[in-house]
């Protein structure tokens, strides 16, 4: 278990670093997909197979595809990656780097404070997740549903448009 965890976690960290540092947006997005897959493996190793698969289906399989879909339509070529290269000079990394180091230090401190070996992992079956979601957390599920519904209605309203008549000869016809 330890080896799989460390390998997956290492891949996740490396891939995430590449997300930030690569100049080509498409490559950055692909690294993000790799990072999400690695995180799914970590979740799986820690006894939550249901969450791991949902992570792949929803994040890697749906949301990232949609983002890549839109980036594809924007047709960003070599020019944008040159722009990125111009923006991301080494000097720019100093302050975010310091902030991240502080956070890392804090996290290391907390981990060392109450070091608990990640032994006795309990595997949470899909059924248990469902019972929890539709039992004690039912209000959260319903609220999420309402939020998504509002999003769909909004998208429909924004996307609605009159049918355009494509040719002057067709103007008299009901389309």
């Amino acid at each position: 278990m330890d080896a799989t965890f460390f390998i997956a976690a290492g891949i996740a960290v490396l891939a995430t670093l590449r997300v930030i540092t690569s100049y080509n947006i498409m490559h950055a997005l692909l690294y993000l997909v790799v990072s999400l897959l690695a995180v799914a493996v970590v979740i799986y190793v820690y006894g939550a197979p249901f969450m791991a698969v949902l992570e792949i289906i929803i994040y890697a399989g749906a949301i990232m595809v949609l983002i890549i879909f839109f980036v594809m339509m924007l047709n960003l070529g070599l020019e944008t990656s040159e722009h990125e290269k111009a923006w991301l000079r080494p000097r720019i990394w100093i302050i975010p780097g310091i902030l991240c180091l502080i956070l890392l230090g804090e996290m290391l401190f907390l981990i060392i404070q109450n070091r608990q070996p990640a032994g006795n992992i309990q595997v949470v079956e899909p059924k248990a997740v469902g019972m929890a979601l539709f039992g004690p957390y039912i209000i959260a599920v319903e609220l999420t549903g309402i939020l998504l519904m509002a999003g769909i209605v909004g998208a429909y309203h924004l996307g609605r448009q009159q049918k355009k008549i494509s040719h002057r000869f067709l103007e008299n016809f009901e389309l």
Binding site: L30, F50, I56, I57, V65, I68, F69, M72, E125
Partner: protein, 317 residues
């Protein structure tokens, strides 16, 4: 059959050979249904055409366009074959013959098929060609939409069997195959499955009469071959899933061993896929999307709701 490596090796061997054999089978069957002979010269019944085709693919110029994104261009064809082969991990061929009997079987299948979208999207984008890009955009929207109905249609089976585990689902069909109580779910799953493998009549991402060859316009040689093999593996996967979920998997009268029953049923659905290609016209892109969201989506929700309601009523009475 306790050593998992034997099972993995056997499954890979059978699948890859089946995918190659399907190339010949499809060409022969299409020819038969169109009243001509098809490839019948090389070897018995022309079956060595597969070998000849493979040799041809290997010796073709393996061209990477200078305007393409090279790394992604090479990587894209591998994704489709890999994701489909990964899906076979959870397919139970017979009692005990399954690579991994996971409790999240169906979800794993959905996850892998959603990753398969990347091969079309990345292949089309990396080609840096407007026809390929159009094909990739169509492919992405088609596959994302049809995944939704596919998942919802499957949930009817999950409600009836009470598990995501495919072996448990097959066992739950001992008395009656799920095709009877889940007829609507089956039809939706089959349609979504055809759209997911982007086969005719839903081969809109490649649509050769309007988009050259869609997302794989720029591919040649064995990279094109990978897309091809991925497509045939996809057909086999969807057929196997239909059999497992709705046609009782390995179950059948006991004069034949369970594996044989599974293969026979899967083969019948592969033939259905080929027959569909021989007989159906391709719908327009907007018709496909409209049909999906306005017909299949409400139907699959209704199917799930009614199934759950009946199950609840039966469990309380």
């Amino acid at each position: 059959m306790t050593n998992p490596w034997w099972i993995i090796g056997g499954v890979l061997f059978v699948l890859l050979n089946a995918a190659a054999g399907l190339i010949w089978l499809e060409r022969r069957m299409l020819a038969l249904w169109q009243d001509r002979y098809g490839p019948n010269r090389a070897g018995p019944f022309g079956i060595l055409i597969v070998l000849a085709d493979t040799l041809k693919l290997f010796f073709k110029e393996d061209w990477i366009p200078p305007f393409a994104d090279k790394v992604v261009f090479v990587f894209a064809p591998a994704v489709v074959a890999a994701s489909v082969l990964m899906s076979f991990v959870i397919v139970p061929f017979a009692p005990g013959i399954v690579v991994s009997d996971m409790n999240i079987g169906i979800l794993f299948f959905l996850a892998m098929s959603s990753l398969g979208v990347y091969s079309i999207v990345l292949g089309g984008w990396a080609s840096n060609n407007k026809y390929a890009l159009l094909g990739a955009m169509r492919g992405a929207s088609q596959m994302i939409s049809y995944e939704v109905f596919m998942g919802l249609a499957l949930m009817g089976v999950v409600v009836m069997s009470g598990s995501f585990n495919l072996s448990v689902i097959v066992e739950a069909q001992k008395n009656v195959w799920f095709i009877f109580p889940q007829l609507i779910g089956f039809v939706i799953f089959l349609i979504a499955g055809i759209a997911e493998t982007h086969r005719l009549p839903f081969d809109i991402p490649e649509a050769e009469s309007e988009l050259v060859a869609g997302f794989h316009s720029e591919y040649s040689g064995m990279k094109f071959g990978m897309f091809f093999i991925g497509e045939y593996l996809g057909i086999t996967l969807i057929s196997a899933m239909v059999v497992v979920l709705y046609f009782g998997g390995w179950l059948g009268p006991s004069f034949l061993p369970p594996v044989i029953w599974f293969v026979i049923k899967t083969f019948a659905f592969i033939m259905l896929f080929i027959l569909l290609r021989a007989s159906m016209p391709r719908p327009r892109y907007d018709q496909l999307m409209e049909y999906g969201w306005k017909v299949l989506f409400p139907l699959s929700l209704l199917n799930l709701m009614v199934t759950a309601a009946i199950k609840l009523w039966l469990s309380t009475h």
